[in-house]
Point group: C2
Chain length 559, copies 2
């Protein structure tokens, strides 16, 4: 059994998140006295995580090894890779390494959390190498739905490890920054011990379209538009935004930016030179009002139907300054993320009610994925020729299928590992195996609370949400059990009280009967017995008359 002493012959790789879910990406690599982290992302809450804002990885393994943590390497600036960094840096001092855009987005985030002062951000460009303890790390340019993404080639005492990051292979990217095929190939030729590769789209056959193809479809749509054009897109998809801005120029339209994150990301990308968007092409709301519709383009957030976004408010006629009007063409240039479909379709219906035309990914090719499809995943394996293969970034079924893809390509079955969050992957120069598990998990963030809402609390929220709440209050005399006050009944989320007061009146009778029955048996009534009886009888009563099971509180006080 390997241990962590100085003579440790094994390198350990431990995914803390992202192997068993989409999002929450975080990985530990450690050798001897050095531990580095790759990414620290959040996940958006699942449907049953009521009231939860975001989900972050469990840092307890980092806590336990805090003295050895030397660096956080960031592959790109999406929330599922950087979103947990403020929570990480609140507890630990860790230098961060990343490409310019990723760092700029992290900087913005740390500023918001008041953590920027005490943070160390180190810029690394693609093909640059950094050394951290026994690790020599080269950043390899990849394509993704945000610019400046990288994969990692990590030279270690046991061999070379390649981490794909989130990637697609786009041979005609908008910004000219191609997937660095040659460099991946060079490592492959040198000999790679293990490849950790993005599994998100393993269920999709063939190749992703190029980002450029979206531009062509958008051009066709622009040609047909006489009125205003409103394009909803993720604010981080800066290559998409660049294409829209170029098309606006081509069709003599001026651009209004809408939404806070849109403004922030465009500002950052302009400053760093990732976006060609001359100030004279941008307009304000006031200027928009003076332009003919045919010269207006709006870039907005809200493509997922986020409740507070400009697009949603426009759809529901709830935006102070912007109205959707007949003749508008609204283009939702992003994926319908599973779970958001009905919300988005609801918004589309409302946009049609205002007389707009709506174009979305389900009717036209106006979005391409940022994640490699099956043929690209195979290309990655052909380039890198790893001895061992470990699928990362995906739900369980994605990992299973990606592993099978590698086996089908001829990597021996025993060299293709199925690791999960918390698996310790033990890497030696000639073998890789999965060792013991370390504690990992999903830490729920609700407001300022981190990890204080878990199983029981969520179950209670679910229960409250289903049939609401009934509160009974009653004060009785300690000596005589005579009623001093009440019974009063409050309800919330249970029934329309105004129109169904008879139900609550009958419930009062149930309570009085309970009290009478107890008094018949015994002169002195115990409040906890009375509470339990009221609870039981009301539960039975509501179930009988309404077939409903509200949360019931019976508060009985004796004085």
């Amino acid at each position: 059994m390997p241990n962590s002493s100085n003579t440790q012959p094994f390198l350990k790789v431990i995914p803390l998140g992202g192997l068993g879910e989409i999002g929450l990406n975080m990985m530990v690599m450690e050798y001897d006295e050095t531990l580095i982290l790759i990414d620290s992302g959040l996940m958006f809450p699942e449907d049953d995580m009521l009231g939860i804002d975001i989900v972050i990885p469990d840092f307890s393994y980092i806590q336990k090894n805090r003295d050895r943590v030397r660096a956080l390497i960031v592959t790109h600036g999406h929330e599922d890779h950087i979103g947990a960094i403020p929570f990480l840096l609140r507890e630990f001092q860790i230098p961060i390494y990343g490409t310019p855009l990723s760092l700029a987005l992290i900087r913005e985030k740390l500023k918001e959390h008041g953590l920027l002062e005490r943070s160390e951000l180190n810029q690394v460009l693609p093909r640059e190498q950094i050394s951290i303890g026994p690790f020599q790390i080269e950043f390899l340019q990849v394509c993704h739905s945000i610019p400046d993404g990288v994969g990692l080639a990590i030279r270690t005492p046991v061999g070379i490890l390649i981490h794909s990051g989130d990637f697609k292979i786009d041979n005609t990217p908008i910004d000219g920054r191609r997937f660095d095929m040659a460099r991946f190939g060079a490592y492959g030729e040198e000999g790679v011990l293990a490849l950790f590769s993005d599994s998100t789209n393993v269920e999709r056959p063939g190749y992703t379209l190029s980002e450029r193809d979206v531009g062509n479809t958008l051009r066709e749509i622009f040609q047909e538009c006489a009125g205003r054009i409103i394009v909803a897109v993720f604010a981080s998809n800066l290559n998409r935004i660049q294409q829209v801005i170029r098309l606006a120029r081509e069709f003599n339209r001026k651009v209004l930016l809408n939404g806070r994150s849109m403004a922030v990301n465009v500002r950052i990308a302009r400053e760093l030179g990732y976006l060609n968007f001359p100030p004279e092409e941008e307009i304000t709301l006031q200027e928009l009002a003076r332009l003919p519709d045919s010269e207006v383009l709006m870039l907005t957030t809200g493509s997922q139907g986020e409740p507070m976004s400009a697009l949603t408010r426009m759809a529901f006629d709830d935006h102070k300054k912007l109205k959707v009007q007949r003749g508008d063409t609204i283009i939702l240039s992003s994926k319908f993320i599973p779970g958001n479909e009905r919300t988005i379709q609801n918004i589309i219906n409302h946009l049609y009610r205002h007389g707009a035309e709506v174009i979305h990914e389900q009717v036209r090719d106006i979005h391409v994925s940022g994640h490699a499809y099956r043929q690209e995943l195979k290309t990655m394996i052909s380039l890198v020729k790893p001895r061992f293969f470990i699928p990362v970034h995906g739900e369980y079924r994605h990992l299973v299928k990606h592993r099978q893809l590698a086996i089908d390509m001829g990597i021996p079955e025993e060299n293709c590992l199925l690791a999960e969050d918390g698996s310790t992957i033990l890497c030696g120069p000639d073998q890789i195996s999965i060792g013991e598990r370390v504690p990992t998990g999903r830490v729920l963030v609700d407001g300022k609370g981190v990890g204080d809402v878990e199983g029981v609390v969520l179950r209670d929220r679910r229960h409250l949400s289903e049939d609401g709440l009934v509160i009974v209050s009653l004060v009785i005399d300690k000596e005589t059990s005579e009623i001093l006050s009440g019974p009063d009944i409050l309800s919330k989320g249970f029934i329309q009280e105004e129109t169904h007061s008879e139900i609550l009146d009958s419930a009062k009778c149930v309570i009085l009967e309970v009290l009478d029955n107890l008094l018949e048996k015994d002169y002195e009534v115990d409040t906890s017995v009375l509470q339990a009886e009221i609870h039981r009888e009301l539960k039975r009563f509501f179930n009988r008359v309404l077939y409903r099971r509200p949360v019931i509180y019976a508060i009985v006080v004796d004085i």
Copy 2:
């Protein structure tokens, strides 16, 4: 303005549901003293309808005209067309007309609700005609994802109206019951005043695949399977079920039926001769255990990840008698209905964890829609050649696009109406227009309660679900304002109390401070003032320390 007197020259068509949503299909047709209904369907609750079981149409227009209602015509046996019938028949006595399978499914439903005795069910076969007052109605055979579906040709004093029902055009259906193209054409040739046509799939180009194509893909999959095969499918999709049963025979597998609705529907379909499934091909759980895996096939419900279904319980290892095992192939032969995607994918992940292989519509063509695609919708219009066109069955955007499709085919724009739930469509022999609105809406059913949970109650449920609940109870002396009992704090769905008791302790201090402050100002404390103050200060306190806004109840009693 038309009126409802005896001399009324207009026929009225009023959709009570289904024009603005998927589901809830119900339509009124009335002329003079006769009113008939077409379908009476339910809708499944939207995401924000917390705790709601089903949604039914508002019957108040029927209530108002109850003396004139003569018949309910049913186009097919899906829940979104028959699911509200028990609620309708609870209030009204209306004879029902439908095809054998539709009636059998309705009968089952009425039996459950104890309404069968007082119901009148009249069987009509395709190409049969019935007369109800001034309406002469012919049932026209169509294809759909349940057998025995019909469209309606309704001869009226103002002209012929065609209602498509839910349809697709399948030239190679499994049961040989083709879409009755010739009969639709004959009416078209005779001259049709108006066509009401299903809009569900207007966003999809081309043609739907034939049900038979699914069979071919299933055969390919069966050929690859050495272990058990588990097929999850809607219990009403009896043609799909027939195909699976035939394939089981072909591959020498015996069939286990799993799930209550599967058993009921298969029984009914067998009795009526809609399913060829000899008893010797069916096995029980005991027999299954004795067969080799390669001779087993299971037909199960649960393709939408319904929490109590056999498939879900098997996935979560929560089924007493059935376990998923390595080598099983699980085929989800149905659509991922929007809103259910994440639940279904979660189940797929769990099935993979048990070592099963899972095949679903997103990776292979093992499902076809029951609703016509664009080319079929055009075929319907070409056959029927209506003078007026009214899209039905769809969300708002579907209706808009279907109307546009008809205009693109050459029907004059002014003859293509965009009606919605509650629109009165006034039909004369030479014109159709939209008149005044009648009350319609979505009536929410929660347990036994119909319509007693609405806006405010749902908002309260939402609020409770987000940050939970805090209840404060306090009894004070009426004279001295001295505390007699409390303050006690209960919370639910708010915070893990065991690990964060300090928050609730601090909240108690906040309450005591509120009381002290009031006492300083005034000797006698008003309980309602005290309640309001406690509420305000606790709200502020929780927002400050946790950034959370639970529902707060302060119950203060003075004795």
